[in-house]
């Protein structure tokens, strides 16, 4: 087993964080969350609707005793709206975790770094463990660390695209420079990509679409858990150095030489 993940003063049993969106139904989502072994799942806020009471997630999720909730600020167009969403979510769950996301452009859903920074500054003072979804920008990530964020969550690729670790070189710099957990959030499609992120030195990955849109979400959740665990163990074990020249792994003795004559 790899070492446990610490975010602020909280310890989590898994380095896989799960989103709860896009599943065919709540039962499939719950089974997938359980199969993933995660200790942290995201939830969103929406308006109460009398017709959709059975769709409320808080009940079924709060029955999973080992899983904590990380409300997100999805739908917020600016810092002010994100702060409001965060305070409302805390009223329901009391959770210290907060996925801060502000992505006003529906075409690419890329995070607005300026509004995100402003909201983070306020929400850290409000006592949240602020975990901002951000572009893979090493300067921004360091600035967010400096103001007290509990982690940074740079994207691998735009939300829901499944394009994988397109930001790998920037992630390397972010990981090298960060003293807080670096969590790749968005864009992953396969457990191999999750393993690759962990081998780079990421502290965790957050996946949603890759599991929810798989043919068998429950199986894929388990596969991601294995990918994350394998990648983390590999990083902790230390990958061998690379070499331009071949280096033999068997003895190149000459006892076979000339015996064919």
């Amino acid at each position: 087993m790899s070492t446990e993940l610490r975010i602020g003063d909280q310890c989590l049993p898994s380095r896989l964080i799960m989103g709860t969106g896009k599943f065919a139904d709540t039962a499939t989502m719950i089974r997938s969350v359980e199969a993933s072994g995660t200790g942290l799942v995201t939830v969103a806020l929406r308006r109460f609707n009398r017709e959709l009471v059975e769709d409320d997630l808080y009940g079924p999720l709060s029955e999973l005793k080992t899983v904590q909730l990380m409300p997100n600020t999805s739908g917020a167009m600016d810092a002010k709206e994100a702060v409001r969403a965060a305070l409302l979510s805390r009223e329901i769950s009391g959770s210290p975790f907060l996925k801060l996301e502000i992505h006003p452009n529906p075409h690419h859903l890329l995070p607005d770094p300026i509004e995100t920074y402003e909201a983070a500054r306020i929400l850290v003072k409000e006592g949240f463990l602020v975990m901002p979804y951000v572009p893979a920008d090493p300067v921004l990530c360091k600035r967010l660390e400096d103001i007290g964020c509990a982690s940074v969550m740079p994207l691998g690729a735009p939300i829901g695209t499944g394009k994988g670790l397109t930001t790998q070189e920037m992630l390397r710099i972010i990981i090298r420079d960060s003293s807080i957990p670096v969590i790749v959030d968005a864009g992953l499609r396969s457990p191999a990509e999750a393993a690759a992120a962990m081998e780079l030195g990421c502290d965790a990955v957050l996946v949603n679409s890759a599991v929810a849109a798989a043919e068998a979400p429950e199986r894929m959740a388990e596969a991601f858990a294995m990918g994350v665990e394998a990648g983390r163990m590999a990083w902790e074990a230390g990958l061998m150095p690379t070499s331009e020249a071949a280096i033999a792994s068997s003895p190149l003795t000459s006892f076979l030489a000339g015996r064919n004559e």
């Binding site: 995201t42 969103a44 009471v53 409320d56 949603n208």
Partner: protein, 66 residues
């Protein structure tokens, strides 16, 4: 009294406080958060929060999301 609840006009005939409105519209108080005229109202104060004509109330619950 007429209130604007989640964007729709609701005629509230109850006690006139926030908690009784939640009961009236069928929201489970344990599962929701509430804003009145743009301000978050802490749940401890719902029973003591008097509503006024044309107040804008938002009742929010958790939904699935990534």
């Amino acid at each position: 009294m007429n209130l604007l609840v989640n964007g729709e006009t609701v005629e509230h005939s109850g006690e006139g406080d926030l908690l009784s409105l939640l009961t009236e519209v069928g929201a489970n108080p344990k599962l929701c958060a509430v804003m009145v005229n743009g301000s978050v109202v802490p749940r401890e104060t719902w029973a003591d929060t008097a509503l006024s004509e044309n107040d804008e109330i938002e009742i929010l619950v958790f939904a699935s999301g990534g």
